[in-house]
Symmetry: C3
Subunit: 328 residues, 3 copies
């Protein structure tokens, strides 16, 4: 593992290792000596956060993941405050960043740029790893990792993801997170997926083809209340109306695709509710206090998972695992 | 003390302790080993600076106060570079920040937001402290603290604030700093206030009622030269014309409410001149070289006071006081 | 050396010392223990990067130079997110920055501001050094330093800059870098300069007068191919069309002032190609793979040179040189 651009690089052993590392970081950080150990892991590393698509959450999660490990960060969050105004090519900008830092984390509004940056790095004498923090409607591999980790952690004493029934609800057509997570399910045994969406926003054929190819059973429905009692997890997503071409989301009645107090009664007592956040009206704030609401912990898991990933990119994962017994 | 949202939380013992801590931080920072001790106090803590109202001074003061103690910082200074564009509620944004950091410092153009953030924190399982760095025309408690500290420090060998006559001049109607400072005077003995302002910008009745209630004598005047010789301190403020509703400040003659070389002659030799900065024409730059000009030191005190406050929030104030003898 | 505002402060001993320090920083940073030593050199120092003219490259280079040495950084990169909107003077803003930090690095679109900031510092009780990171068409001393260093390093085993023939090509009229570099050549022996530019953008008389005064031979030509075989280094610059007053660059045929694969054949095997970056069409990307293409290393040298400069400003250069044998 050098670049993290595409979820295709993850297989089951790597996913398991990253989950283990994430738990290690999270556990070690709980004590003050442990947290100090972490900030002393990578103090000589410098990262560049290049976010030409605004994203507070992913930016902060990445920035603080760096800080957890002592990595120093530089940032560009406003594409206009950049020498691209002087007509520099994307490749020259990325190579420039790589001159100064040891890691580039990037997010772009268009697809394919992280892959271009990684290809450039593979062609120069002093490459640095690229982490894709979201490239258009395309890929967002660290989000997929934190989602996998949240599922694994929540089902820790129930065999992990294997054998679970996972619902996904909302804008499945354009939701990058549910698409990536669905793809990763091929690495787990006996998972069953339940897609809950209005007709106009159902899961796309490409993902369904992948599932069929790998023998992962899935059902599609628009009736949440009918399927809710079967689910071990429900992954709720918001309507991605910013991607509307023709205002297509405005005519859809989203009320039946919402989790509120009533829906909590239909959900198993040991099931979990996930959401990549930010949320819209699809999860009522009253749900937050329910112990099954996992989305705030999921968000924080993102920081720990990203720290774990960075520790592996810089090959200090063994020191991390070895420290676990000292600080646990 | 958990959140610092409102000056109402400060009583005399707390004010005295914070002043003592501020002197400790400032003194320890003077030597290189002392400064290293400070940067090693809180290296595992992470702070979020969420400034949706631009403020270079308060931002830099807070950011560097964090850096003095080794706290790592993340920032949002442009409200548009934020996931609020995706329609997230204020509460969800704040809870997100709290997922990644140990402290939120915030400044907003409207009143009440820091209090809302603190209330949210008090309702969730993993709260972090909120420091209000200015919320509208409302509250700016760390500014009030640094003003108190500057007075106490300047009168260190003259019994501190107790017994002093303090003038406040300028836009007293809308000046947040003079309003807060006036309120805090109830914690000191035998203080006398002199309000010097044009009629249209005199101190509001709510503050005068507080002063009367606590038996703090005050006089109001428009004649600076008459009262200047009585003052131990004069706190000058600028016209807050950005808050004009009907261009009301443009018609007022501000010349009589100005400190220049001539006014220095009328001021006691041991009096001090304060200003929260930025300044307009109300203090002439020639005054800067006078030893009684305290506003630049006041500004720097802000950084030390904020570092002291953060050290207390994270309960390392005892280590700080204990270190004072090692490094003094 | 306190401020670094103007290249006029550099004489040969200082240039040599800074080159030696740069090599020391670069060499020590190569090992992990060395890199840790560097981050522990100045952890108690705080720098302000005040860039009211956007410049990704110089900003990142300076920010990471600080991080290499453990210096903590605060930044203003958007002049609108600043209290200057409240009408503060430039001098008051700079003095405010100096209240919180130990070093100000600044870049402005207009000339003369860094000098004004330095003059202000020289008049106050607690001055901090100013590093000019580019002030208008005026001065950019750290760029001149990194250019000198890149030449010295490239000719390390060939006697350094002394005795070399250095070409400069492109917009010599307005190119700040070639103007500064030309001025510094008076500190080296037997250097010969070759200016290659279209008529409308040839080197200005002021620089040519300096060269004549110091007996530095130079020729001017528009025929690249004719002079290319004589050069030890060619410093290519882009057309500064953002400084066009009357669209004067649009009518000029720039094709003859370009380095491509064909030109590589005319260049000596041990010559080097430099460019301050960002580049336009004047160097074809295919040239990047040629071992004589030095511009990417030149860019990275900028970070090391700036770290070396900062180490000298804070008087830790002896510790740096002493450490060289421990980590080399």
């Amino acid at each position: 593992m050098f670049h993290v651009v595409d979820t295709a690089i993850f297989d089951r052993p790597l996913l398991d290792e990253l989950c283990q590392l994430t738990t290690a970081v999270r556990t070690i950080a709980k004590t003050e000596p442990g947290a100090r150990f972490l900030t002393d892991l990578l103090p000589t590393k410098r990262a560049m956060l290049y976010f030409t698509q605004p994203s507070t959450r992913t930016f902060l999660s990445m920035n603080n993941a760096c800080h957890v490990l002592g990595v120093r960060t530089s940032e560009i969050r406003d594409p206009e405050v950049s020498s691209e105004v002087k007509g520099e090519t994307f490749e020259d900008s990325i190579r420039t960043f790589s001159s100064y830092v040891d890691l580039i984390v990037m997010r772009t509004p268009e697809a394919g740029y992280a892959a271009r940056a990684a290809a450039l790095m593979d062609s120069i004498p002093r490459p640095v790893p690229i982490i894709n923090a979201g490239s258009g409607k395309d890929q967002h591999p660290t989000q997929a990792l934190l989602d996998v980790y949240t599922l694994e952690r929540s089902f820790e004493s129930a065999g992990g993801i294997d054998g679970k029934t996972i619902g996904m609800m909302g804008d499945l057509k354009r939701g990058r997170t549910v698409r990536s997570l669905s793809r990763l399910m091929r690495h787990y045994r006996d998972v069953r997926l339940v897609f809950i969406a209005p007709d106009a926003f159902e899961m796309e054929p490409d993902i369904k083809a992948v599932l069929s190819e790998h023998g992962i059973p899935f059902v599609e429905t628009a009736r949440l209340h009918e399927v809710l009692p079967q689910l071990d997890a429900i992954y709720v997503t918001r309507m991605q109306s910013e991607h509307d071409v023709d205002d297509e989301s405005s005519g859809v009645n989203l009320a039946p695709f919402t989790i509120g107090i009533h829906e909590l009664k239909l959900l198993k007592t040991d099931a979990i509710i996930m959401h990549p956040l930010p949320r819209g009206p699809e999860i009522h704030p009253d749900v937050d206090a329910d112990p099954r609401a996992m989305y705030w912990r999921q968000e924080r898991n993102g920081m720990w998972m990203r720290a774990a990933l960075i520790s592996k990119l810089f090959a200090v994962e063994d020191r991390l695992m070895a420290a676990l017994e000292d600080f646990a």
